[in-house]
Each structure stands twice: as structure tokens, then as C-alpha cells.
Amino acid sequence: MLSMLGNYEEIAAMILFGIGFTVLLLDKNMIKKIIGFSMTDSAVYLFLAAKGFIRGRKAPIVVDGVTEMGAYIIPIPAGLVLTGIVVSVACSAVMLALTVRLYRRYHTLDIDKITRLARKEEK
């Protein structure tokens, strides 16, 4: 139990992941769905950033001549977070664009209502 408290960043990330995932899956409102998606991905990045950081070590930029490996953290997790953020921004943008198009057409953000309207429109 105490060891879990020590990993509070990871626990926070998992809780956020759960909240975001549920909203993305179950909420009817498109904007809330997109917020849920952003939360889900941010939670993953928080997890990754927390795992990539070691207390007492520095970013791997040699300025004062220290070259031993133990003094620095690995830069890859931070790089992955940046790449991931770019990807999730692109996905959010696509989702928002689709939402704008749907709202202009059906004047609602409720995905179930939109589906019903689209079916009716076709008939």
C-alpha cells in the first residue's frame, strides 16, 4: 500500500485514463467525447513522463563537463511524449473538424440524435 503511495503520479495517470476513457466511450456529447480523448492521451503522457524521470538526475545536456551516465535521465520518454502530443493533437483536430461539420448540418452535438437524424434524412 505504501509503495502505491510512492507512485502517486502513475496512480493519478491511471485514474485520469479511466475517466477520460469512460467519457470517450459513453458520453453522448461530441465535445465531451473529444475532451475525454484528450484526457486519455494526456494520462498516457503523464504516465510516460513520470516513468522517464528519475529524482536527482538532470536532462542529458552536458554543460559542466559531467559525462557519466548516472548523472542524466534517458531523453527518449520525453521525445515519445512530444511525438505522442503531436499525434493526439492531429486526432483532436480531425474530430473537431468532423464535429463542426455535423453541427452545421444537424444543429446538435448529441451523437445519438445525429445518427437518428442522418438515418431519417436518407429515407
Binding site: 485514463f17 470517450l24 492521451d41 510516460l48 527518449i76 486526432c91 468532423l98 445518427t115
Partner: protein, 497 residues
């Protein structure tokens, strides 16, 4: 290093670079250039397949200046070569088969953007097939998701927009799970390259450390990719997404997009986790059960449809079920059957959608069955192509579908026990259901009608004819020469292990 080893790299980079360039080209030039690039990629992949056959082993190709545990890598073996060849060729044929319909379905000033999406999809497929780096795989999975969603929405109708949105939601759910899985895996192993990850996981499995996290990771990756490829309970977006978009999109989406994810899953199972550890966790049983249920439920739903495109789309749900059943057996035979079915279904479904589009056009643009009567006479080539596709789906000898059904049955029997009974019974039931709805459609196509159709039937365009004829030949080739491909897949899977 020999020059030909750069072919996979070129196959990824050429469409990716051209996609950027195509966005500023004018419509007609963009379309020609895209066709040329897709053709070039398929020719290169075919050449590469032949070369790999003679080379007889796999190799890794360093991307950038950093060697293996740090840098990025491409890995190519025989399975990758065959798959990439098939994917690239089907992509090209679907593109030329559907390109003329773009005029009707996509605004004329957006044609170059449609080409950009096609090229991005091609690049993402190639990258997913060849990559040896799991995070690169994730990035290209997302590129493919975005490109596919835009391909669905390219035909501006209410239902395509809704379908694209639903597609995005389900796929984002899948990618979130997949991303979480690979991040935890990275945390456990400290590597991103598949081969290094595999070594680390082997050590973990031997020492018995991190047993639960590993199980969670395997579940997350499997379920994430299964959701993305539309396995049965997550299939709700498939009929709308495949049913209402423009024919080129339909062909590409139904035959390639979901298959790319499945190939990635198979690659991860073999190259990262290892088949034995995968079976120890028991997750393959979940895939097996859902695959079986999907085979039946997809076929039942297909029977209920009164619209040719939605019916074909629901049939895809059933076929994805077949593939996951093969993976769920967890044997090499099962994997081989699944891989072969990926090919035979991809070749068949793309042709069915292209032909269905032409049949619908010859019936006053109605896609209900009652209007489609006699359309086989009004659009003869499309009618024949649809019949060949339908027969292949049903499992008629000398066509691709027959060999894949045979493979599944043999794989099930080889496994033995309750699995064998389940596989054979469900396979039989599903085939019977397939026969009901596909042969019903074929009979409808050739029923004589006295309804007068307004639209005079035009001669089909040259490219469309070429595409359909090549697809039909591919189907027959897959059936007649099935042993060649089965051997290639088997060798490729052994190279994986």
C-alpha cells in the same frame, strides 16, 4: 549493403513524400501522379517479394545514424514482403477502379486532397508492415486512422460524416488502449525495437518477474488492435463506414485498413511477445470466442440487409471474425490460415465493392435489391466480377476463399479437442449463411426485370475494366496457386519466430 535492401524504405518514403507534394498539385496531375506512385510501390513490392524469396532470410535496415538498441529500424522477411506486395497491389487496383467515380462523389477542387489521403494510407500500410519499432508502428497506426476517417468523409453526405465520426471514436478508443499497452511495455523492457523488447520479455518470463503487468500489456495491445480492426462486438461503425463512402474508399477501407492492424497484431505476437508467452496468458481464447461469434453474427446481420453495399459490409464483419478465429487458435497453422484469409478476403472484398458500385450505377443509383434485378445484364463486367467475388466468399473451388476455408478447417482439426468441433461447426454454419446471402444476391443480379431504367448504360471506363479484370485474375490466381502463397507465408512465419 546491397541497394535492393532499401526497397522497403523507398516504399514507405515515396508515398509519404508524394503526399506532401500532391497537396499543392492540380486535380488531374495529382490523380495521375498518385496513380503512378501507387503503381511504382506495388511494382517495387512485387520485385522485393521475388528478391526476398531468393535471399531466403530476414534482415534489419538501420534508419538514420543510430545503430540497434537506440535507433529506428525496418525489418523485412518473407511474410512482410508478401503482405506488402499484396497490400500495395490491392491499393493500386482499388485506386484505379474507383478514380472515375470521384467526379460524382467528391468536390472537384478537393480531388488532390483525396489523393493525399490515398498516398498517406499507402505509406502508413507499408510502414506498419515493415517497421521494427513499436512506437513508429503507433504513429503510423494513427496516420492510417486519420487518413481512413477522411476517406470515409470525402463523399459529403450526412451518413458518411456520422460514419467517419463513429469510426474515429472507436479507433481512438482502440489506439488509446494500444498506446497504453506499448508505453507500459516500454516501461517494463526499456526498449522500443521489437527484437530487443523480445529479448527483455524472454528474460522477464524466465525469471517470472512482472507477470501481471505483462498480461495486462498483452491484453491492452490485443484488445486495442482488435477494436481498431472491427472485431465483432466493436463492429458497429463498419456498415455505415463501408456502405456509404465512394467506391475507391470502400474498397481500400474494407480490404486493407483493418488488415493492416491485424498484421501488426500478428507481428507483435511473434516478434515482441512470443507465441508461447502469448498462449500462456490465455488472451488468444478471447479472440477465438469473439471470432467465432463474429463469424455467425456478421453473417446473420448480412442476411437481414436489403442493400447490397451494407450486406457486403456486414460480410466483412464475419470475415474479420474468421481471421481472429485463426489467430485465436494460437498455432502456427492457425496464424497461416489467418494470414492467407487476410489476402483472399482483401482481394475479394475490394473487387466486390467496386463491382457493387457499378451495379448500383446501372440501376438508377438505387442500392436496394429490388432495383438491382437484371443489373448483371446492364453492367456485364461488374456482374461477372461480383459473381466471382461472391463465389470466392462462399468457398467455391479454384478461388481464394476455398483455400482459406480449407486452411481454417485443417488448422482447427490439427488443434483437436473442443476447438476442432467448434471451428468446423461454426465454419460450416457461417459458410451456409454466406451462401444464402451471396448467392441470393447473384441470383437477383441475373433475374430478368421489366422495370425500365432511366439512365442509359455507359460502357465502363478503361481503368475500371482493367482493375476488375486484374482483381478477378488475382482471385483465381490465389485459388489455383494457393500452395505457393501458403508456403511463402509459412516460411515468413518461421522467419518471425
Amino acid at each position: 549493403m546491397e541497394l535492393w535492401k532499401s526497397i522497403p524504405f523507398v516504399c514507405i518514403l515515396l508515398p509519404l513524400g508524394s503526399a506532401a507534394a500532391t497537396s499543392v498539385l492540380k486535380g488531374k496531375i495529382a490523380k495521375r501522379w498518385t496513380g503512378f506512385v501507387l503503381f511504382a510501390v506495388s511494382v517495387l513490392s512485387a520485385v522485393f517479394e521475388v528478391l526476398m524469396r531468393f535471399y531466403g532470410q530476414s534482415y534489419t535496415y538501420m534508419m538514420g545514424h543510430y545503430p540497434a538498441p537506440w535507433g529506428n529500424e525496418i525489418r523485412a522477411g518473407e511474410l512482410e514482403a508478401v503482405t506488402a506486395g499484396f497490400f500495395a497491389f490491392i491499393m493500386f487496383l482499388s485506386y484505379i477502379g474507383g478514380i472515375k467515380k470521384l467526379k460524382e462523389h467528391v468536390l472537384s477542387d478537393k480531388h488532390n486532397l483525396y489523393c493525399v489521403l490515398m498516398l498517406l494510407l499507402d505509406s502508413a500500410l507499408m510502414a506498419q508492415v515493415y517497421t521494427n519499432d513499436i512506437f513508429t508502428a503507433y504513429v503510423f497506426v494513427e496516420i492510417m486512422t486519420i487518413a481512413a476517417a477522411a476517406l470515409i468523409a470525402a463523399r459529403t453526405r450526412g451518413r458518411t460524416l456520422v460514419a467517419a465520426t463513429r469510426y474515429m471514436i472507436m479507433n481512438l478508443i482502440g489506439s488509446s488502449l494500444f498506446l497504453m499497452g506499448i508505453i507500459i511495455l516500454y516501461d517494463l523492457t526499456g526498449h522500443l525495437l521489437m527484437s530487443n523488447m523480445h529479448e527483455a520479455i524472454d528474460t522477464l518470463a524466465k525469471t517470472g518477474q512482472y507477470k501481471e503487468p505483462l498480461t495486462v500489456v498483452i491484453a491492452l495491445i490485443t484488445i486495442g488492435l482488435a477494436i481498431k480492426s472491427g472485431l465483432f462486438p466493436f463492429h458497429k461503425w463498419i456498415p455505415d463506414a463501408y456502405g456509404y463512402s465512394t467506391p475507391a474508399s470502400q474498397a481500400v477501407l474494407s480490404s486493407l485498413v483493418s488488415k493492416g492492424y491485424i498484421f501488426l497484431l500478428i507481428k507483435i505476437i511473434y516478434r515482441v511477445i512470443g507465441l508461447d508467452l502469448y498462449k500462456e496468458t490465455g488472451i488468444h481464447n478471447v479472440l477465438f470466442v469473439f471470432g467465432l461469434v463474429g463469424m455467425l453474427m456478421g453473417s446473420f446481420s448480412a442476411i437481414k440487409q436489403n442493400d447490397i453495399r451494407r450486406m457486403t459490409a456486414y460480410s466483412s464483419v464475419a470475415q474479420i471474425g474468421y481471421v481472429f478465429m485463426g489467430i485465436g487458435l494460437g498455432t502456427q497453422f492457425g496464424m497461416m490460415a489467418a494470414m492467407f484469409h487476410i489476402f483472399s478476403h482483401a482481394v475479394c472484398k475490394a473487387m466486390l465493392f467496386l463491382a457493387a458500385g457499378a451495379l448500383v450505377d446501372a440501376s438508377d443509383h438505387h442500392d436496394e435489391f429490388k432495383y438491382l434485378r437484371g443489373s448483371g445484364y446492364r453492367a456485364p463486367l461488374a456482374g461477372i466480377a461480383f459473381s466471382i467475388g461472391a463465389l470466392s466468399m462462399v468457398g467455391f473451388p479454384f478461388l481464394g476463399g476455398f483455400s482459406s476455408k480449407l486452411n481454417f478447417a485443417l488448422a482447427g482439426l490439427e488443434y483437436g479437442g473442443i476447438h476442432a468441433v467448434l471451428v468446423v461447426v461454426v465454419l460450416m454454419a457461417s459458410t451456409a449463411l454466406n451462401t444464402v446471402y451471396f448467392l441470393k444476391t447473384v441470383i437477383t443480379l441475373y433475374r430478368i426485370t421489366d422495370h425500365a431504367y432511366e439512365i442509359p448504360v455507359k460502357k465502363p471506363e478503361f481503368l475500371f475494366r482493367v482493375s476488375l479484370i486484374l482483381f478477378a485474375l488475382l482471385n483465381i490466381g490465389l485459388g489455383v496457386m494457393s500452395q505457393y502463397f501458403i508456403n511463402a507465408i509459412n516460411r515468413g512465419i518461421i522467419m518471425f519466430g
